[in-house]
């Protein structure tokens, strides 16, 4: 007769193993949609650095891209007390565990804070690098790891400071599962500064003057701050390999023949190949190559990703 016996699976040895590690405060959250790291990716710090860099350099719409938030400088553990019930004779049980919740404070400018606000409502995953440089994730069956489930994410809007406290951005991070913390953790000690891996800001492109023939005159500004990027990226964006052009009528790629950087208008004059002929009124999408491709150019294009610009062939 089958019995009820959990002795083989309930409890176990509780000795202290070698190289134990503690979870310190979450200093550097890295949000991810569905990015998972393979066993090879997390074999050591150097491999993880390469894998993280590659994931950061994906385009913003790539499901495997990861988004590093700024360094968190003040952390409050807001995890609620577990729900308990006590009977009349004093007997008490824990009924429900609470999801881990942290308030993370960072010092950011208005634009960076607004960019963080764009993640409000995020319910995918997050990797954590803690204060001691330990990268934390959730183990996968193939020896790799994935991010922790996110229950909810909220960053407050920018507001004025006061004379008593440092004005900070407050990010409320509620993890989506307490079970992930019980038996599936992966930890890797990293020896790099995650803030130095890749720092990308959005750029908005616009025509600085009317197009003529196959020449389009384009300028770029940081999307939030509005800073003209010409001076900083004059040479990088004067490379034909830095741009992509797509014919929206048939989806074909258009070769960029040459580019001239024009100091007078702080613009790049982009000449497209006239063979095959592009019909007047054709819509053309202009954009930068992916950050991963841009980083490999002779003059690397680093730190920016552009929203595509639709222009019309005159």
């Amino acid at each position: 007769m089958a019995g009820i016996n959990v002795c083989a699976s309930l409890g176990g040895e509780v000795g202290r193993g070698s190289c134990e590690v503690r979870m310190k405060y979450p200093k550097f959250p890295i949000f991810a949609r569905s990015k998972k790291f393979s066993a090879a990716d997390i074999a050591d710090s150097a491999s993880l650095k390469a894998a993280l860099t590659a994931a950061m350099l994906l385009t913003r719409d790539d499901a495997n891209k990861v988004f590093p938030f700024p360094v968190m400088r003040k952390i409050a553990d807001g995890t609620a007390e577990p729900k308990k019930e006590t009977l009349d004779d004093g007997y008490m049980e824990i009924l429900n565990e609470s999801l881990p919740m942290y308030t993370l404070e960072s010092v950011t400018g208005v634009c960076q804070q607004q960019a963080m606000i764009d993640f409000n409502g995020w319910t995918d995953t997050v990797y954590i690098i803690d204060k001691d440089g330990i990268f934390w994730g959730v183990a996968t069956d193939d020896g790799g790891c994935q991010g922790f489930s996110v229950g909810s994410l909220y960053t407050n809007p920018p507001r004025f400071g006061n004379s008593a406290n440092i004005a900070t951005s407050k990010t409320e991070l509620l993890f989506g599962s307490v079970d992930e913390f019980k038996n599936k953790l992966v930890a890797i000690k990293v020896d790099f500064d995650p803030t130095k891996l890749a720092n990308i800001v959005d750029v908005t492109l616009a025509e600085s003057a009317a197009a003529s023939g196959y020449v389009f005159k384009i300028k770029g500004t940081q999307s939030c701050a509005g800073n003209d990027i010409y001076a900083a990226y004059k040479l990088a964006l004067a490379q034909t390999g830095a741009w992509k052009a797509t014919n929206l009528t048939d989806g074909s790629s258009i070769t960029v023949s040459s580019i001239t950087a024009d100091d007078a208008t702080s613009s790049w004059f982009i000449t497209l190949n006239n063979s095959p002929v592009i019909a007047p009124a054709t819509k053309i999408k202009l954009e930068f190559v992916s950050p991963a491709a841009g980083a490999l150019l002779s003059t690397p294009l680093k730190g920016i990703e552009a929203f595509s610009l639709i222009v019309t062939k005159p």
Binding site: A40, S47, A50, L185, K189, A295, L296
Partner: protein, 137 residues
């Protein structure tokens, strides 16, 4: 069963680390290929034709002269995405004769690597290996 997997360098042995030398795949899909005309070919790994760094420390290229006056270049290239590539070291000049070249690299910089072999004159065969440390968890 509770499980915390901690990847520290000193723990590699604890989890089991095996070192092995892996053959790269030449353009013809085999470990060894021949270039007889002026052209470029690649030494890669995997079905996608991309090398994925996996605890490796160096790539070894072996060029064996077949005929003519052999001349060409070889260079290690890196990529973040497996499709856009850049040279990561100074190009090595292939001279007339049989030779071996080791390419050391910083595996923290790129996710993918490959060797580009270019023939200028003559005919030679080429093959490559890389050294891998695989971890058993």
């Amino acid at each position: 069963m509770k499980r915390i997997i901690l990847f520290l360098g000193v723990l590699a042995a604890a989890f089991g680390a095996n070192a092995q030398t892996v053959n790269l795949t030449a353009t013809n899909g085999l470990a060894l290929d021949t270039i007889s005309a002026a052209s470029s070919e690649f030494l890669t790994i995997g079905a996608t034709g991309k090398i994925k760094a996996n605890g490796s420390t160096s790539f070894i290229l072996t060029v064996t002269k077949i005929s003519g006056t052999v001349a060409g270049t070889a260079v290690l290239q890196g990529s973040h995405n497996g499709s856009d590539w850049a040279d990561v070291v100074t190009s090595y000049t292939i001279t007339d004769g049989t030779q071996t070249k080791a390419f050391e690299y910083d595996k923290s910089k790129y996710l993918y690597y490959r060797i580009k072999v270019t023939n200028t004159t003559g005919s030679f065969s080429y093959k490559g290996t890389y050294y891998v440390t695989s971890y058993n968890f």
